[in-house]
Amino acid sequence: MLLLEHHGKALLRKHGIPTPRGVVVGDASALVEALPGLPERLVLKAQIAGGGRSKGGGIAFATGRKAVIDAFDSLRGSTVNGQAVDAVLVEEQIAFAHERYAGILIEDGDIWLLFARRGGIDIEDITVADASNLQAIALDPIAGPTDAQFQDCFDRLGYAPDYRANYARIGRALFDLSRSCDATMVEINPLVELAGDALVALDARILIDDSALDRQPEITALQPIAAKVGRLPFRENPEGGTIGLIGLGGGLNVTLMDWIADGGAQVAALVDIDDAVGAGHAEQGFAMALDAFDRHPQIRSILVNVITCGYRLDDIATGLVAALAKRDASRVKPAILHLRGNAMAETPELLRAAGQVNCASLATAVAAVLASAQD
């Protein structure tokens, strides 16, 4: 779950990382009410998930009451990078000497603390041109960063001595925040140096581990998760296609999408039946998927591929046969079946008795669904 900037900044402040003074407002009256507590020079930032706001027109600078209200009216209700702007973060403008970058990231089995000499919106290009711009510290996941690691990192980046204690403080705070909030990525870009030794986080992007949301109720409450439609993992291909795929297991599903693409077609939509089978609702899962594909305007043919070891194939086949029998005959599309796995012995007879054909191999099944989609 990617947090909105103002939620992320609240977490930064909770961990002692300074952010600009500001308020989040959803309508003009709330803005007018908040203005007396804010300075003249303000920045207004659309609160949408994802990056590229600056380049997408989601950030405006304004000075004085009228200009701020006008800027708010332009932003609120607009669309930035395809997302509607429902709320705007209004913050004091900060005069700074340098734009840096600080972040924490879990990648390749390790947790890394990142600092950059030059941050800001062009950090990726800058780092491509000069790899030394970014320094990554591999952390002990229990102990966190050490003083020696900070010293070496800050030497490489040329951070001024006066600021180093605060950089280290922020590094430790990022590590603590990441662990306590189950964040898999925290990014402050830019982290700016003010006069003296102060550092302020002008932006915050925090990604919370979806698998840990159950134990992070405060964070989950910030941004309620949209209910899953029909409780079925249904993935639509934005580029369209003519084949519906019902599979079991992500790795094989993706392999089949590749295989079908090689054959000149595309999977229009995919349902992984794993959750339904695991919950003991194979028949309902197949029925929902088949019905969705039969109604789908672009899908011309359906591939049902199940190769299982952890479940009994005959149980799954029983559910599939029942679901196939209940389809609305007026819109049934061809369904190619390939079922293999544990307790295979009973399955061919189950399918035969239901008048269904089980393909002899994956290659046969893929060829059949490609041919069927072309008819």
Binding site: L2, G51, M185, M257, G278, I307, T308
Partner: protein
């Protein structure tokens, strides 16, 4: 020989409330592997089900001591996996296979770190486990979809491995051991440990490596193969037709430069002199051309 788990493995099941774990109580003995016991701290875990004559222990320590268990298979709920694995590490169980998916990333990070420090082999989370046909089963894999042979398989994805095993069986190709390391970003062992063990295994002639887009495991494996593996390796990377998702932040982009997508992984393997198949059918063609002994 079988890699990772010996033929005389004595298995402990954790998370017996999970129907998948209960099913394994029948499946493991069906494959001739010894089920040493079930760890259930609370009798409510057994609600509505009887373990038959399988011993039930309250702690992993008791199970390891009195039943000689030397392999833990963990099916516990995602947020309970950390405690189960820490107990197994503390009980000095040398091989731990975590089959649970959706384990919090920070828990996986901690467990990976603790297992390494303790010298314990951790496979997973989100692994389908391993199988050496005719010798040992410690995962979902079943002998129904494969035959014994001299080709080792290491895969991130269980389902992709199932498909390759099944197609290999149809083509008369058998396997020595199949192991799924799991697709998660943070896990115990990666491709390199099984590759190294297959290299040393006198009953494995060739290796199939099944990867997928994302992360740097495949690139790390390619470098390792170039430096340390002399047996033939056939690879396949799934996800060629899938566009890499929008980056969630600069961090992933700048920390993962030149890694992660299908092209960079294929290039890494090609540079290491590894055969890269374009689909499952090509894996079979490449394996047959190697002319490995049947068993």
């Amino acid at each position: 020989m079988a890699i990772l788990a010996p033929s005389d493995s004595r298995i402990l099941l954790h998370g017996i409330a999970n129907p998948l774990a209960r099913f394994q109580c029948a499946e493991i003995p069906r494959h001739g592997t010894r089920l040493a016991g079930i760890v259930a701290a609370n009798s409510s875990e057994l609600a509505g089900w009887s373990p038959g004559d399988v011993p039930v222990f309250q702690t992993t320590r008791d199970a390891a001591k009195s039943a000689g268990a030397n392999l833990s298979m963990v099916f516990s709920a995602p947020c309970a996996v950390k405690a189960a694995v820490i107990d197994a590490i503390a009980a000095r169980v040398p091989l731990i296979v975590v089959l649970t998916e959706h384990v919090p990333v920070h828990d996986a990070l901690l467990l990976r770190h603790m297992a390494r420090r303790a010298g314990v082999t951790l496979i997973g989370p989100n692994s389908s486990g391993l199988l050496s046909p005719g010798r040992v089963k410690a995962g979902f894999f079943v002998e129904d979809i494969c035959r014994p042979g001299r080709i080792g398989i290491v895969s991130k994805s269980g389902s992709l491995a199932y498909a390759v095993m099944a197609e290999m069986k149809s083509s008369g190709l058998g396997i020595s051991t199949v192991v799924a390391i799991g697709p998660d970003a943070v896990k115990g062992i990666d491709f390199r440990e099984p590759l190294s063990l297959f290299q040393a295994d006198p009953e494995t002639d060739a290796i199939v490596l099944l990867g997928e887009i994302g992360g740097g495991d495949e690139e790390n494996a390619a470098s390792f193969i170039a430096s340390s593996i002399t047996k033939p390796v056939v690879t396949f990377i799934s996800g060629r037709s899938v566009s890499v998702g929008q980056s969630m932040g600069h961090a992933h982009a700048i920390a993962g430069l030149g890694r992660g997508d299908h092209t960079t992984k294929v290039r890494a393997f090609a540079s290491a002199g590894v055969m890269v198949a374009q689909n499952i059918g090509e894996i079979l063609v490449m394996l047959k051309a190697l002319n490995t002994r049947p068993t």
